[in-house]
């Protein structure tokens, strides 16, 4: 049983999704999805522990040996990602706000939960598989379920947002497929490790270059790297707030993982950065994302859209860590991935609480709520402080590593830019604080029930905890960075 764990973690939510259709009753389906998410979290933690003690775990799907069969391969990075994704899922799924802000018809909630589980299965699949084509399949599973989830938003704009995401997502997915095809054509293998072995001799080939380009663009669309981010603000804004919490905290993270995996494991940092100088393309884009995203966030009037633009900026930070291609930089990128998942998940859940009580997600909705919903507003403040990168919060840790990484590379200007861009975050966070605590209350509301604020505070509290105790986050991230760079500790 325990050796099948790395497959089971994907298969369980995949099989659990149809069960939702059998259970039908909202209450039971809800309990079921929560149990599945928790079970996945337990498995992910076990796997992480096992990877850290025993090294890489490989699993041949169906007993077919790689490179012919599909291989599931878990190293420090995948296992870390699995924990992030399942942890977010196991906090968001049981949350009391999971059905807030949706346009579900009566008695159809079980379909919504099935889609959530499918999305989870897809994300876990992308993360654990070692086979490129399998990655494509799971990317599509995730995307298809997230189109559905986004379209369930309360406003009709959710439908158009989901449609344009569908178009963009399909193009991105197909690009990935084309890239995979090119690689297969030259090397005759789909296994990532096998590819990594065979590619070095073929790197000059134009087919490989084209394949790399397709993979990069496809992955960047999924990650919403500036300027391929257009789908993201609309999708996050109109999706149900809990879905935004889940997708913002997991989907972009997994796409980031995919890009990192392709760059570092499949092609190798030497080729990508020393020969192709990809960082001279990615770094300006990342910096542009940091500034454009934060600046755009300043002017938003909708909480979810504000957070979405802030996500684009945060993706910029992560990408920046990626193109430093050093242990410190990558650690910064990966630990920011973890921390951002916590804070953005928490913030979106807090917004979901606001929507639950006021029925609106506009910035004005929180006007004067500092007294009426103190817990929710405090969550927004703390999450915001973490976005800024105030010391004592998780955001500080990741910024620290990124700045040190930039200094190590001799990119002094970049380190200054990182700090300056986080100052813009002060502006949009403080807009929320001023509205919440100085505004005049528009709604007569009371605090949300504990089932809603507790999950929010689990994530927000975690940002505080991981701002001080960083053994787990930074330790895991640096192990992951070393695994990516192929450095043995």
């Amino acid at each position: 049983m325990s050796e099948h764990l790395s497959a089971l973690i994907v298969v369980l939510p995949l099989l659990a999704a149809p069960v939702c259709l059998l259970l039908r009753q909202t209450r039971m389906v809800r309990a079921w999805t929560s149990i599945v998410a928790w079970a996945c979290l337990c498995m992910a933690l076990t796997l992480l522990e096992r990877v850290h003690t025993g090294g890489v775990i490989t699993y041949a799907m169906g007993g077919w040996d790689p490179p012919l069969g599909i291989e599931y391969r878990l190293d420090a990075l995948n296992a870390y990602l699995l924990v992030i994704v399942t942890a977010i899922a196991s906090v968001v799924f049981p949350s009391g706000v999971i059905l807030t802000d949706t346009s579900l018809p009566e008695g159809k909630a079980h379909l919504y939960f099935a889609a959530l589980l499918l999305c989870l299965a897809g994300l876990l699949g992308i993360t654990s598989t070692g086979d490129l084509f399998n990655v494509f399949v799971f990317v599509e599973i995730t995307s298809l379920s997230s189109y559905t989830l986004i379209s369930l938003g309360k406003n009709r704009q959710a439908l158009t947002a989901a449609f344009s995401y569908l178009v963009m997502g399909t193009i991105g997915g197909t690009f990935l497929l084309v890239g995979i095809g090119f690689l297969y054509q030259v090397t005759g293998t789909l296994n990532m490790n096998d590819l990594a072995l065979r590619l070095p001799e073929l790197l000059g080939s134009r087919t490989i270059l084209a394949g790399f380009a397709f993979l990069m663009v496809g992955g960047s669309i999924k990650l919403a790297v500036f300027p391929l981010h257009q789908w993201l603000p609309n999708a996050y804004t109109h999706a149900p707030a809990a879905v935004s919490a889940f997708i913002a905290a997991t989907a972009t993270k997994v796409s980031y993982y995919l890009l990192a995996r392709i760059i570092f494991t499949v092609f190798g940092a030497a080729f990508v950065f020393d020969a192709l100088h990809l960082h001279w393309l990615l770094m300006p884009l990342a910096i542009a994302a940091m500034f454009a995203g934060s600046l755009a966030a300043v002017f938003q009037t909708d909480l979810k859209r504000l957070l979405a633009y802030s996500s684009i900026a945060q993706i910029g930070y992560m990408t920046l860590g990626l193109c430093m291609a050093s242990e410190t930089g990558l650690t910064g990128g990966i630990v920011h991935l973890f921390n951002h998942a916590l804070m953005k998940g928490g913030l979106f859940l807090a917004v979901a609480c606001v929507v639950m009580r006021t029925g609106s997600s506009s910035v004005n909705a929180i006007s004067g709520l500092g007294r009426k919903m103190p817990l929710t507003m405090a969550a927004i403040v703390v999450g915001g402080l973490s976005l800024i990168g105030v010391p004592g919060t998780a955001g500080f840790i990741s910024k620290w590593y990124l700045v040190v990484g930039a200094l190590e590379r001799g990119w002094y200007a970049v380190s200054v830019l990182i700090l300056l861009s986080s100052l813009i975050a002060v502006v949009y966070v403080w807009r929320l604080v001023e509205t919440a605590f100085f505004g005049v209350p528009e709604h007569e509301v009371c605090e949300v029930p504990w089932t809603s604020w507790l999950p929010t505070w689990i994530l927000i509290g975690a940002t505080l905890v991981f701002g001080i105790w960083t053994d787990v986050t930074v330790g895991g991230a640096s192990a992951a960075a070393r695994a990516l760079l192929g450095v043995t500790p």
Partner: protein
């Protein structure tokens, strides 16, 4: 001349561009989905033609094979079975969305939708 010899890839590129162009240039959502379909089919053709080996037969070992037979590579073809399923599923979700959009907005023309969205927000 070498470039012409790989005419199958030219066909793929052509189809891909037609598909992409349709997605970008057409306002009608269903036409966009059709474009998307063409785009995906181009990739499927790309894989299928990639697996074809000149002079190769179907990858079934006949009785009394001596190992000199040339087979087409079956793997890309098999992969495309999955890709076709993905394509169909995407189309289904897309069309379902179009139906919902039509119900909610009364139109499936993108410029009209954008106009309504702007007016609504």
């Amino acid at each position: 001349m070498e470039a012409l010899g790989i005419w199958n890839y030219w066909g793929v590129v052509l189809l891909m561009m037609i598909g992409l162009y349709t997605v970008i240039a057409r306002d009608h959502l269903v036409k966009k989905l059709i474009g998307l379909g063409i785009f995906q089919v181009a990739v499927i053709l790309f894989y299928v033609s990639m697996g074809k080996v000149t002079g190769g037969t179907a990858p079934i070992i006949p009785e009394g094979a001596d190992g000199s037979e040339v087979y087409s590579n079956p793997l890309p073809h098999v992969l495309m079975l999955t890709a076709i399923v993905v394509g169909v599923a995407t189309l289904a979700v897309g069309l379902a969305l179009v139906i919902r959009i039509r119900e909610a907005y009364g139109t499936v023309e993108e410029d009209e939708l954008q106009r309504q969205n702007r007016a609504g927000s």
